[in-house]
Amino acid sequence: MTVPELHEITLRVNGVAYRTRVPARRLLSDCLRHDLGLTGTHVGCEHGVCGCCTVLVDGQPARSCLMFAVMAEGCEVTTVEGLAAPDGTLSAVQRAFAECHGLQCGFCTPGFLTVLTAFLTENPKPTEEEVVEAISGNLCRCTGYQNIVAAALRAAEILREERAEEIVAAGDGDGAEPERAREEAAE
């Protein structure tokens, strides 16, 4: 039987450029996990329903089991491994999940973390309903979601606190900014 043709692709994952050769049918999830060794992205259903395999493609959440690796050519992909700062400091969303018991087995967690990372960038001050809506494409079998929602709201709060601190640290503006930033964070 003929050997499937391999396609050379270049994709940037978590800021690192990778060059690899894949058959056209290779899923992005399999490429990330098995070709690049980034196993943080999990595969729960391979039909795009559970959201475990969600990664950010050019900043937008995407199901890596519904994309072929060749489709990510030239894209900037962020996986759960890329959410922490380069020095290993966990992102606000990651910290909030640990703080609020937002995970149990942890298998679906990378999908929730990536989805919420993108969501909180767009909507830094979400309501509970908006959070529920944002994660309504991700299945979790362990937590009953309650603590995931709490974690998302806590992450938003941490992000606002951090932003306020940054503004305070920058110390510029009319002097009233730190106050406003703190108030905003406290809301």
């Binding site: 391979e46 759960v80 299945l139 079998r141 937590t143």
Partner: protein, 804 residues
Amino acid sequence: MTRLFGSPIPRLEDERLVSGRGRYLDDLGRGALAAAFVRAPHAHARIVDVDVTDALDIDGLVAVYTWEDLPGKLAEPLPLLIPHPALTHPKTGYPLAREEVNHVGEPVVMVVARDRYVAEDACDRIRVTYDPLPPVVTIEDAVRAEHLVHEEVPGNVAAHLVQENGDARAAIAAAPHTLELDLDIQRSASMPMEGRGVYARWDAEDGSLRVYTSTQTSTSVRAAIAAKLDLPLHKVEVVVPDVGGGFGVKIMHPWPEEVLIPWAARLLGREIKWTEDRREHFISSAHERRQLQKVRVGFDDAGRVLGLDVEIWHDNGAYTPYGVIVPIITSTQLLGPYKPGAYRVEFRSLYTNTVMVTPYRGAGRPQGVYAMERTLDAIADYLGKDRAEVREVNFVKPEEMPYDHGLVFQDGRPLVYDSGDFAASLRLLKELVGWDDFESYREQARAQGRRVGIGIACYVEGTGVGPYEGGHVLVEPSGRVMVSTGLTTQGQGHHTVFAQIVADELSVPIEQVHVTTGDTRLFGYAVGTFASRAAVMSGNAIALAAREVRAKALKIAGEALSRDPEDLEIVAGAVRAKDDPDTALDLATVAVLSNPLRYAFDEAAKRATQFAVTDTSKPPVPEGEKPGLEATAYYSPPRSTFANGMHAAIVETDPDTADIKILRYCVVHDCGRMINPRIVAGQIHGGVAQGVAGALYERIVYDENGQLLNASFMDFLMPYATEVPKIEHAHLETSSPLNPLGIKGAGEAGVIPVSALLASAIEDAEGFRITRMPISPSDLWHLRQRFAAGEIEPLHRASRRETA
């Protein structure tokens, strides 16, 4: 130091898991060969021919195996794990089907290839010719027995068991009132986000096998592999990595793949991995829940049950490798917090040509609670009494504990409740949900054209079943405390709660405590993680081991400091004199002293060499002692401990669309002393979500040919965040007298009463009896049609409400 037991500290597991550093089965073995399976497309058929020729020229194919290729014990049926005298006709499948298939999804051919894509290509080209046989799909089919699943099993009856305490039939006949109920509960499934998976490495030079598997029981998989592959036990290591949820389905073992993959790895001398895909999980793992129940009950004017007679038809699917644990649990746990005057239960466990049934979170309890709670609701309705009041008059009282039901539980031991205060739980729950104010809320809602209902359901859960678990605690010369236990973890936070226990017992910072679960290289004796037993069994074993280590540390430090161990204490990782905190030794130093050395590897070790020890009149290791600051202990309970809880919910049903919405969900829960209340709450949240799923959304649907119609997440409706209600909960802590820590299990609590509860709340909203769960808006809509047509009786309370 603050006591960690009882403290809601964040989990130690999480930093790794939120940063993508978890190691689940499929994350291991990069570069290993991949296996895939050709699975039966028919529910019942004879295999006429398997033709693999077309597959053989596929580039990257390594091997193809059918039953004919299996040697020795591997060619025999898989083991019957839990035999029971009532299981008169046990049947288990072969690792690869031999001559006949009995459900869609049964493995027929195993393919090994360069990767999974290629392995699936090969599977597609394998032609299996079948001679289809008539399938038995439903319980009704099985009872009719026009066709048989297994020719040699008459009437499709795998097991038949009757248990009786008193003369229930006579008590019912003599009772002032009697009722009869026909109940039906449908199939569901554990459905962990991570499917099953096995990865095996054979070391030809050493003649040993290492198997990683996504299981709830490491030691038993090891024993199964050793038996099937005829290897000495110590040549098989089973390591359980991070597991992406289990909920029962991963306690079944060995799965065919758990013996086939290691066998092929040895045969080929190559690493092989199999990672289940979602469709495989639906059609070839295990399901649970389906039962038909007939209840006859006799009761007095107060609603006290005088006699209860329950008949259960349990669908066990095509095989019974896990025995009849599920219906045994249903038939015993049905009693909940109540004491019927006399009780008779009879079950028949029946074969069908469907995926086999093994325990799923709650394991038979949701069905039992469903039967009992539906019955109490019916009694309350019949008598025009408050549903909570009818429950209360039937409660076992705290002063009656321990309470013996006169039955035999799933562990073969008497069904005896150890503790609990059911009336106190009910009071808490009624307050939490606002039970007594509900009627006025109903009136308000009605005025707005809304239809609401309230429900209540109580349960008792036998947790922490034996036979035993063990724990090992070792203080390293570095001061690190290494803890291991043989049972496994699937996300319940075991590493954290076990570390909490050890940190307290040894008075060391929790950061110094490192826990390993489910690795036979570290701990070879274990049973497994199921039946909410991990905290009770391993928790107590680990506490006992830590106490031994503590005593040993005090003894060794006593000798070194020339003090009586009685005068010493351990504080913040150091042994010190109670009267003189400056007279102290770090636990790390004690660990060094515990192991007299000939060779020095570092500065610490130098202090423990033979020339450093002064008293030459005694042997370096005193008689009866062992080197090392470590201990192994086991906990084996006299019988199960019984956790309990009560749930209440308020629902709203849409008058037009029959959409069912949960407005409030309240839980009162008693699992004895809590090690980590945050983790307990998380277990309840998750359990309730699975319960709601089973009550309103999830249903495994077979067609008349035994084809599973909804084998995907598109069609099997697992709830998202949008479908799960917010859970309000309160705890009651009635300590268990059965174990040193006073704890009971909490893993399954949340799921158990939900179907009963939501049936109760929905029928309260609708005014007619709900007898079949789960219930969808479409089901409810059709029931309304039948109710309007006079085919269904109204609830008495509904007519009373109308006339009031």
